[in-house]
Symmetry: D3
Subunit: 314 residues, 6 copies
């Protein structure tokens, strides 16, 4: 991507991309580093890209370990060049800002080629998620079923179905627009690298390649407790707890923990006026913690918790 | 603290302070929020300050739940007004910048009053620590012994002794300069609020008050596994792993985990040049992980791990 | 409005909106805080919103006391998120920046519902205006007449007609596009809150509601001097005095003052070169001061004065 | 003052200074632009400096129309080079930052020469004051008396005595340290240029020169209402109303207005939560408004009003 | 151009433009200061504009000495208002940011009027070029021939043909879109003013005016060495040397120097790790240095050299 | 150097230092990268440090190729951590900002060890110098004589004597304070790397080592034109041309060029008002150009030229 700056008139930014073209077979896309403060995907995808034997590949593997490279180098969610969240920039614009140009390239050049897209996120600096893959509800039972099979082969501990979030500007939405099977993930968070999350990502990529028969081998989809990926959903609008005002939020829960409506979720403290009583925050539905907050200091409107529930199949 | 700004010529910043003066008895200082991205202390100290019954107090309790208030409000380590790390500003300067003036006030007005100082930290946005109290080696066996007793009554899972870190500019060092018994802590990290760390802080404060007989009651110093606070140390210079260059660090360990010299600590990845092999990083001594890194993206010279070892008593 | 930021991946910004739907009757829109350094509208609209008895309403009242909320919280003209002037962003863009998305929402969801729109401004930090309502010349005598009646019922001391300012990007222009009667105002300025301007805004809103028969009562359109709102105009291009270069402008006039062409408007000083004579600035037409400058330090191209004249009716 | 910057290795900043040395006679200092968002002094002092006939001078007149020149050029209170408030930097430091070096020069080179110092302020962007001169209480009746005579000859509408404000770092304090008679002023505010305040400053400077017999002529100390400068004081700590939290402050008063303890001073609005009732703020003592707030949006700790009372002579 | 800012609600920015309309004859456009860190064009165009005798003109001369005026005042490549590179903004957008609005004006109002466009650049702060004019390959032999004649009359030491650089967003591309003959230049660099480059620009402008018969006189197209402008090209992708990683680049060449494939172009040093051997960089083709780097410190992807070769005529 | 930042609580910055201790013999210090936009020293010193054979050394060589490492990495004059010019920070402060702590270390730990100090500068981004070494006049003829010999062995084309510049805060001044022979240099400029300047630095370092007999060999002090280093001086205050106001400066000279008092040095252009005549700037003394300006856009007080004259020996 050409990118002028004050000290480099004709500079380019080289976004890393690895393409292994093994002839006949399906095509798959793995994207990482869409947010620069999410690291597991960057490590896992680049490691697979270095290790895979091109001779063993039947089909095409496209791997972008760090889509928003400037954000990845800075360790930030937002791209430092144009201040944009890359995952709100698809389908992009060939004449727009850095992220918009890059989004346009992925929308028009990469996405039309692939049958399967796996966009690996890990919640970033400001949250921590239950280790999961994610998919969107669509009104086509066959697509739902096949995406469930894809997610079961990625084999994160949880797979979470979402309804009705307007996502036309995400990488996932772009994949869906082009008719590709699409999942994303949230593995990790708090802005650090979780060793177990890296292993989940690596196994998931390897499993998907085997399931698609791009490489040989039998996917390993076992879970530590002996079972399979648990099917969950986030559907009810009451799943989301937003901060009612600025403050310091003390959560009383951890990811995956079971909770019930009316339980105390936490307290919102007003440290500048320490003698003021904190404001109690309650859960509004039963379920399990899907997303926990990452920063103690929240602003009005920040997400303090998201609740997932067992998938009810429709 | 008076503090001019472009939009407020004669503004003041009110740093919260709670003083409960119950007449005859010893004096203790609890400080929180010395770094604004460390939250557990802010919650625990302000809660105790609201709940304590002044009638029950014999002695003086001084509580600053958010010492660097502007940093606390911003959720940042460094003070946004003068860009300083408050814990590198003691003994301060009455004519200096915001942190320097505030440090001067604490050094000259607060510290001379107290017999015991507990400065509660929690590792902040950029690291996560084994849940511990901290003390410094001094050449006075009696002080060491009494500080060990203080730490045992604070009753974090670990108590870690440090040698030879030049700390004249910290709150702890200020307490020591004034002859007070002094511990600090590192409970939590990754910039979020750990529910268990808040409970450790609250119990620790309450225990210290009881141990000092400022309030009635028997300290509860039990640990979940039935034992007591484990005595540890960080003494060997090889305890510290520094990043040898910029990159994305993949750790292979978690806090408290036992490790051995020569074990692979992690890999330093170069995502911009994904095809370059990551650099392996090895531990240099045996021990347990005291501090784990918080951000995947490290800069040359950043701490990637700190190792603690069993305390050897001298 | 969803709004990602580095420390809050899924945050939302809640723009306050009050809708009182009293069944059958006309619909009116009151907007305030379109510029964040204009305060009277924010106070007046939110007070009316709290005080009005929903039972007494016949029709629909839509009130946005702080349209550009991030700018209002910051006390700035430009939105701190995207650096835009909200009143240059209509009709907006559903995929654009914060202000553009919000403008799109108002253009497509709010404006089509209303018959009357009153957008309350107060000149902001950089100017002070004669206390007035404002309307635009259109080539439809009936619309002009009805807008004059609306302005008379808002009952600011002055009502000023403007010609030929391209305003397709303002809230007023959006209202006109949708066939609504539309006035805006300039009451106050210098970035502070004028007590008398708050009262004018409150009475104006109340009067409009009564005039539209949305609530009962008789509008009070009296002026302190016993007369009515004075009808004025800004038509001649020579009404605008622009700074010919950077400098410190010393005005010799106050809002509402009568002036004549050739009078000395002020002196442009060059303090860095104090021995250089200031440059005298003269008025170019007769009239009254409509707008006085707010900052002593002007940049080339800044408006130093705007002159209004008696409305000549065509 | 030499001042390196990235784009100018060996640059200097020329702070304007005019010295008229008319041989035998007393020496006086007039300083303006100590805060860059206060303009009247810059205009008045540079105009006098250009107009005065050196032949007519007996003694020495030192005039700095824009002490903090970088702040003056930027129209800001704080110096843009080092972020300091110049009027908190005396006595300065020869090896410090820009403001500190400049303060050192004034403290050590200028102040020892003068018998009288007049430092002209005008409240700046964030406040508006009753048009006044200011003096500090000292424990020497003779100094008090002579300073009163100086203030009466400057002849602002009010002269206000202050007690107990620690001012060792101001230009006034520096003058007092060197045994000079010293007044400062607050004429104007809201970050704009008040034509009447410029005239007060010009007459005041001219009067002081005549009173000191540096130039010929009889001072004109009349007031519009026929009387003299009113002697006032700000002594009671309850004179200051600070903002109890962030919000939008609606004042119900104007400078000079008479008020009584218990009167409603204004309302603190919470526009982001428009349905929350504003917090009423009451005056705590009787008196007259000396200082009114400049920005609608206040932060916790900002001054919202200062009350002056009749001077009681001791 | 109207341009709101926090401290100037209704400000305008006056971009300088000189139009000399001498009646019948062709029209020519000279643009300078498209990048604010390129100065020769600003000096040369404004000097010609002041010196030319309007009576002597047959046709129309449109001169913009500083197109991106805010960047020119700041001495920066990128516009400080919207952070854009103006020469990546054509054809612009009437509702966009500052540069986009200005680009739209030039695209729609200026370009349709002119037969010849000369856009004078000088490599800016980050590079230095062989003193040259520049043209683009198009598939129309007649246009190529006439542009060659134009360039020969501009008479820089070199004229360089480029292939296949996507330039739809530049001023040159805009000129081509409107059917005008178009050249640009790179004369100078390193962010300073080269006296010889100013003279080349002034002679070039004068020559073009004479060649177009807009003014009388015979163009002087001689070169110091007695020859003519040398025809060169940059065609081979291997002409561009990009920095393979961040570092300090030590070039071993100067502009215009002849080099051969395999020659050592320079060394990329890693000063932070001074003991690491620098990375040697080799030229990949024979030719002459067209562009040399301006900053010692390069980032991965920055251009370190561009090679030109003799024009081969097709 | 320990250096906290928001994203790295316990980070250190490793400033590179190479010490070759060859036993008995004198000690010499070579410093580079004191300003981060001066590159030749960084390359030359680190290359010598890698190439020198420790076995061949008699004495001690201390080499800091990039003293202000953060500035060097950023390619800026000022340190990006504390905004300071390192060469205005000696003797430093052990409790101060980054540059102050580093200066303290050099002042107290390095300087007391050395007999000779060579601090290599190259004018940086904002200027270009005649290739020279520099020395300061002191009132000790022996020191002058020996420093002249040192400079002749460094063997830059020019050696320039300076009078009366207060330099207590520079690296050179620190060396002088400790009784070391001291020269610095200005080789290069315009923020790029000059190949010939790197060679001068490398030969100079090697020559000094041979002259001090730390390594074997005969210094090569020849000049291209067959002569020796020319002895020059900058003594007359009229040597410095400062910009009388902001503008675009067109110089009419190049470094080393001979000029005479009254010659036109250049023109100061006012591009925003292109029709205004540029202000001519004249030289005030005879001599040769020592320093030429680097940026076209100058601010009032920037140095536009410095003149050197033949050394007159006293």
């Amino acid at each position: 991507m050409p990118q002028s700056r004050d000290g480099g008139a004709w500079s380019v930014i080289e976004v890393p991309i690895a393409i292994i073209n093994g002839g006949k077979g399906p095509a798959v896309l793995f994207t990482g580093g869409v947010h620069g403060d999410e690291y597991e995907s960057q490590i896992a995808i680049s490691r697979i890209a270095r290790q895979i034997d091109p001779q063993s590949v039947r089909g095409k593997i496209i791997m972008l370990p760090a889509v928003d490279l400037p954000a990845a180098v800075a360790g930030r969610r937002m791209c430092p060049i144009d201040g944009r969240d890359f995952n709100r920039c698809m389908p992009g614009d060939a004449r727009g800002s850095f992220c918009q140009m890059l989004a346009h390239y992925i929308e028009t050049t990469i996405m039309p080629q692939v049958e399967v897209s796996v966009d690996i996120h890990s919640a970033g600096n400001s949250m921590e998620a239950a280790l999961c893959s994610i998919m969107h509800w669509v009104d086509d039972a066959k697509v739902i079923e096949r995406t469930h099979v894809l997610a079961e082969h990625f084999a994160a501990p949880y797979n979470v179905m979402f309804w009705g979030v307007d996502e036309t500007a995400t990488v996932s939405a772009s994949a869906e627009r082009h008719g590709a099977l699409s999942i994303s993930t949230e593995i990790g968070g708090y802005g650090r690298v979780r060793p177990d999350a890296v292993r989940i990502a690596e196994r998931g990529i390897s499993n998907v390649l085997k399931w698609m028969k791009i490489v040989d081998g039998k996917p390993d989809i076992s879970q530590p407790n002996g079972g399979r990926t648990k099917q969950m959903q986030v559907r009810d609008q009451r799943s989301y707890l937003f901060a009612p005002s600025d403050g310091l939020f003390e959560p009383l829960f951890l990811p995956e923990q079971e909770i019930r409506a009316g339980d105390l979720a936490g307290n919102l403290h007003f440290i500048e006026e320490w003698a003021r009583e904190p404001q109690p925050i309650e859960f509004q539905i039963d379920g399990y913690i899907w997303m926990a907050p990452g920063s103690g200091r929240v602003k009005k409107g920040d997400v303090m918790a998201v609740i997932m529930q067992d998938y009810d199949g429709h």
